[in-house]
Symmetry: C2
Subunit: 351 residues, 2 copies
C-alpha cells in the first residue's frame, strides 16, 4: 500500500514503514525519530512519480499527487534536479543531496548530489561523483569549476554529463634545447617568414610550417606571430620580441598575451602547441614529438580564457562534442592577471 | 631564361615573350600593348616563387627577388592572398583577380578571385568559384555573406575552404494539421509539462519529449518553452501564449524571440526543429517526419543570429567542423527586425 507524506519545513516527512521501505533498502532520505524519514522534494517527487508515495499533504492540508507536486516546483532548479535524479536512478545509481544529514562529510563547493558507485548506497561511505546540475541557460563562472560531474539539462530535458577535472599537460617534446641563433626573418602583416632556418627547427621541434616547393636546400618556414614571439624572445630569430608582440596585439587584442602565456607554459612542459583554428580552439597539442615525420595525432584541444571568464553551457557542449568527435580531450587554460595558468579538462561521461 | 618585371602603378609589367609564356599558356595577368602583360602583385610573387621571374624592379630601380618582394607586402592582405593563390595553383586551378581587365564580367561583392574549372582558364568564360580570402582574425558581417567560396587562412598558413550558399529548408513533416485543442499543461521555471496529450502530438508530429516510466495510458510530455509557445499560440495547450513567451524571454533574453521566429518558419515549411543543444546549435532539424519510430538522422544544424551579426572565422570553423563530423549541414538563420529570415549554409570544401 502506498504511503502519504507531509510537507514540513522544506522536507517531506513519511511515517509508517517508510524508513525500512524507502531509506534502508532504497537509499531515499534520512531517518528521523521513530520510523519516520525526511525526504528532499526531489526524492519525494520521485517516489510520487513511481507510485510509491500516493500523495504529499501540504501545509494547508491539500493532497498533492505527482502532477500537483511538480507544478509547485518546491525548491530552486526543481525541474532540472528532478530530471537528473530520475535519470540516474533509472541507470541504477543511488544518490543523495550533497548535504548533511543525508550524508556525513558531504563534498563541498557547488555539488548538488553525491552519487554512489553502482551497488553502493548512502551508508557505504564511498562517493563516485560529486554532481552539480544546471539548465543549459545557466552561466558557469570559471572560478566555480570543480572536480566532479556537471549535468546539463537542455530545453527538451535531455541530459549531458561532463566529467570535470584539473589537468596537468606534460610531454617529452624537444622544445628548446636546440634552438638556432638569430635566423633571418621578416615580419609580415599577420605572420612571420623565417628564411633558411636549420632543418631541425621544423623537423624536430615542430616550429612553423614550411612553404612548399622552394628551390633551396633549407625550407622557408612560415610562423604564426605567437611562435615568432616565442622564438624572438629566445633569440632564435632576428626580430625584436616586443615588435612581434605588438603586432600580435594589433591583430588579436588582449587574447594574444594570454595565448602567448599558455603557449610558453606548454612549451616549457615539453608539449608542442600548434594552432587549433580548424577545430575552433586556440591550440591542438602534441605531447611527444620526436620528429615531424613520425607525428601522431594531437591529444588535446586547448582553449584559452581569462580567469574571470564565464562559460555558457552551450559553448561547453560544442567544444566538448567536437573534441570527442576528433578523439581529443578538451582542455581549458585559465590565465589570471599575474600570468598563472589553471588547466581544466572536460569530457563527456556516460554514467 | 627567366624574365624580369617592373613595378608600375600597382601592377608588375613584364615584356619579352611574357605574354605567350605566362598569359596565353598559363593564365597569368592580362595583356598590354605589344607583348607586355600586367600582373597583379600576387601573380608576380608566384612567378618569382617558382623561379619563372628572376626579379621585379621597383620604382627606385632596386631588383627584388622573392624574399624582398614578399617583405614589401604589396597590397592589402597580400600574405593570405598569396598563400591561397599558391595553394589553388598547386591543386591545378587557374585563377585571376576578380576584376577587369583580368576577366570580363567579374563576380561582384567581396570576391577577390575568380577560380576557373580545372582545365579551363580566364578566357573560357566559365567560373567555378567566386573566391573571397580572409585571415582567421578578419570579422565577416552577416550582410557580407555571398554565394561562393570563402578561404580562411589560419595563423599557421593552413587554408580552410568553405562553400557558402543560400539555403531554403523545406520538408514534408506534419506540423500542424493534427494539433490537439487545449491540452492541460503546466508552465515550470524553464520548461512546460503537457499532461496526457494525444499520442500523435509526439509520435507523429514530434513535439516534446516523453517523461519515461509513467503509469498512464497517454504519455506525459515535456516541452521546451519554444515548443510550448508555438503550441500555445495555436491553442493546442491551455497556456496563455504571451505568458509562455515572457517566460522564454526571462530565461533566454532576446534570443528567444529570434528562435521562436525561426522555429515557426521551419514548422511552416514542413521541417521539425528540435533542440540543437548537444551540438552547440539552436536546432537540429528533420525534414520528413512521418513517425518518431522511423526517425532518421537530422539533416541540418541551425544557428540563429540577428541580421546584423558579425561572424568570427574561428566560430565558423567550429560550427562547420562539428556539423561535418556528425554528417549534417550547418545553416545560419539570420533574423532581421521585421521577422524575416535569411538562410545560409556553410560547408567545408576541398577544391
Amino acid at each position: 500500500m502506498a504511503l502519504e507524506g507531509r510537507f514540513d519545513d522544506g522536507v517531506v516527512r513519511v511515517g509508517s514503514d517508510a524508513r525500512q521501505r524507502y531509506h534502508d533498502s532504497r537509499g531515499y532520505g534520512y531517518p528521523l525519530e521513530g520510523n519516520e524519514i525526511a525526504l528532499a522534494p526531489v526524492e519525494a517527487a520521485h517516489l510520487l512519480y513511481r507510485g510509491d508515495l500516493e500523495a504529499v499533504v501540504d501545509n494547508d492540508g491539500e493532497r498533492l499527487g505527482f502532477r500537483e507536486f511538480i507544478a509547485r516546483e518546491p525548491g530552486d532548479d526543481f525541474g532540472v534536479r528532478f530530471l537528473v535524479y530520475a535519470d540516474l536512478r533509472s541507470r541504477g545509481f543511488y544518490l543523495s543531496p550533497a548535504a548533511e544529514p543525508w550524508i556525513s562529510d558531504p563534498p563541498g563547493g557547488a555539488a548538488d548530489f553525491a552519487v554512489f558507485p553502482r551497488g553502493k548506497g548512502p551508508g557505504d561511505g564511498e562517493i563516485a561523483y560529486a554532481l552539480r546540475i544546471i539548465g543549459e541557460r545557466t552561466d558557469v563562472p570559471a572560478n566555480e569549476l570543480a572536480e566532479g560531474v556537471l549535468a546539463v539539462v537542455d530545453e527538451e530535458s535531455e541530459i549531458t554529463y561532463f566529467e570535470v577535472g584539473t589537468r596537468d599537460p606534460s610531454g617529452t617534446s624537444n622544445s628548446g634545447t636546440a634552438l638556432p641563433d638569430g635566423c633571418e626573418a621578416d615580419l609580415l602583416a599577420d605572420r612571420v617568414v623565417v628564411w633558411e632556418p636549420p632543418l631541425e627547427l621544423y623537423e624536430e621541434s615542430f616550429y612553423g610550417q614550411p612553404l612548399e616547393g622552394r628551390e633551396y636546400d633549407e625550407p622557408t618556414l612560415q610562423c604564426s606571430l605567437l611562435e615568432a614571439a616565442y622564438l624572438a624572445e629566445r633569440g632564435a630569430v632576428d626580430l625584436d620580441p616586443e615588435t612581434v608582440r605588438e603586432r600580435g596585439r594589433e591583430v588579436e587584442g588582449e587574447r594574444f598575451n594570454r595565448r602567448l602565456t599558455v603557449y610558453t607554459a606548454l612549451r616549457e612542459r615539453g608539449v608542442v602547441p600548434k594552432t587549433g583554428y580548424k577545430f575552433g580552439a586556440d591550440f591542438r597539442t602534441y605531447a611527444d614529438v620526436d620528429s615531424v615525420e613520425d607525428l601522431g595525432h594531437s591529444e588535446l584541444l586547448v582553449r584559452v580564457h581569462p580567469a574571470d571568464y564565464v562559460f555558457e553551457p552551450r559553448d561547453l557542449a560544442l567544444d566538448v562534442r567536437l573534441a570527442h568527435g576528433v578523439r581529443k580531450t578538451m582542455v581549458f587554460a585559465l590565465v589570471d592577471g599575474t600570468g598563472d595558468v589553471e588547466w581544466w579538462s572536460l569530457e563527456r561521461l556516460t554514467p
